[in-house]
Symmetry: none
């Protein structure tokens, strides 16, 4: 067995699915690309030969060639007759990035299966610290929403949001009937970036009442900044502060670890 080929077949822990609808060359290409992008194979490393790849993954040599040609087309590797294929991509570790799309869809699915009560829906001047994070001038207004989300009659989440990206006149009814994310989309407001901070807070009198719990009870606190991309720059368009009842809502995550 060849050590270099193993890096891909073993260490990546993946195999190609012969039955899957995605073409084999593309599966192999994606697998190799990932290994290069996440630094599993360093810059300058010689890739396995077409023959080795073909054997390791049980595909024909042409399929292996196609995969490597695609890499070459993206300038991730350099191919030379008689020399072999070499990585020409310098790995630079990046900040943690996660697929936002999955998460947003989950949020949306949750939104569909719970009831919303819109307590507030009006344009108002946000408090100074929020106005500041939103980059608003003095006295500028934003769309303020207060919502309570319930399931089976039990409230589990309270949301206070300030939105600057929407200038259309919107009513309580709009937000009662339609998930906020869908309204964003409807007005072509695309969220491309999100930062979230999770913490814990004691319930205030108002929150306690709206979440049907007692004052001082521990709540999960979530602050989310949502950004959109306008031209070259990122612009914050929404500030959300959510509070969740810990017995009726929990944040869960499932993490798989690929590389060492």
């Amino acid at each position: 067995m060849d050590a270099l080929a193993d890096i891909f077949s073993q260490s990546q822990g993946r195999e190609l699915r012969q039955d899957a609808p995605t073409p084999l060359y593309f599966q192999l290409y994606s697998l190799l690309k990932q290994a290069i992008l996440n630094g599993t194979v360093a810059n300058g490393t010689q890739m396995p030969t077409e023959q080795q790849l073909a054997e390791s993954f049980s595909v024909s040599r042409i399929t292996a060639k196609r995969a490597m040609d695609e890499l070459a087309a993206e300038n991730l590797v350099e191919r030379r007759r008689g020399k072999g294929t070499h990585v020409i991509y310098e790995y630079a570790p990046k900040p943690v990035q996660a697929p936002l799309t999955d998460m947003l869809q989950e949020i949306e699915s949750m939104a569909r299966h719970s009831d919303v009560k819109v307590m507030t829906c009006r344009r108002a001047r946000p408090p100074a610290p929020i106005a500041h994070t939103l980059g608003l001038e003095d006295g500028a207004k934003a769309l303020l929403l207060h919502r309570v989300r319930s399931r089976d009659g039990q409230p589990f989440g309270h949301y206070a949001s300030w939105t600057v990206g929407l200038n259309e006149p919107l009513s309580k009814r709009d937000f009662r009937e339609t998930p906020r994310l869908e309204i964003f989309r409807r007005y072509d407001l695309r969220i491309t970036h999100v930062t979230q901070t999770i913490s814990a807070e004691a319930a205030s009198a108002e929150l306690a009442e709206r979440l049907n719990t007692s004052v001082g009870a521990p709540l999960i606190s979530l602050i989310r900044h949502s950004y959109t991309t306008r031209g070259d720059t990122e612009q914050i368009v929404d500030y959300l502060h959510a509070h969740y009842h810990p017995e009726r809502f929990q944040y869960q995550m499932d993490l798989k670890i690929d590389g060492a």
Copy 2:
């Protein structure tokens, strides 16, 4: 425009990529399947006709048909000549939970930039619910650790952990000087999978004292199950319950959307 077709084309916010190597029928099939599984379209709902789907997504009728046939093959929908295609999958709402994403790197970097005090380090019988999740027989023991993590003299996190994957004799000193994840690695215990649940709890008397706060104060609660892979199966090797002081510690995450 047809309202039903909109649910898929608009609300899902996705489009099919004509140029992508994954077949169109499969892209469409996946999109529809997701909408059924997460309850966007309820049981009994009539799906759009092949013709409507074809127009909405700019594909041929045959492609739309193929996608729906795949759904029918999985018993997610029922197809009848003249009647149309109807969802026959009952969506079962799961307990309200939202997904989070990666933060393992932060866990480790945090471990290096703070001080640990090991309060407990011994083998003991875990309480029944924990013994159960760990898959332990009656009376079996696990390694119990109680630790407090501080920064600048201020305690911010309390960790109670039960580990079954380590049988070596380990002392308080081992865990004071070395991050737990590194000890795991040292004994070739590879964590390949982790599930975490974040919630909020009121501080007990003991936690309040160790975290230098008051009884009943809100704390961030984190429960983590760590798994390793032995042969074909996953085995749980560690149960961790952490409590964080919300003013001294917060979970933060940064999510970006990849290039489409």
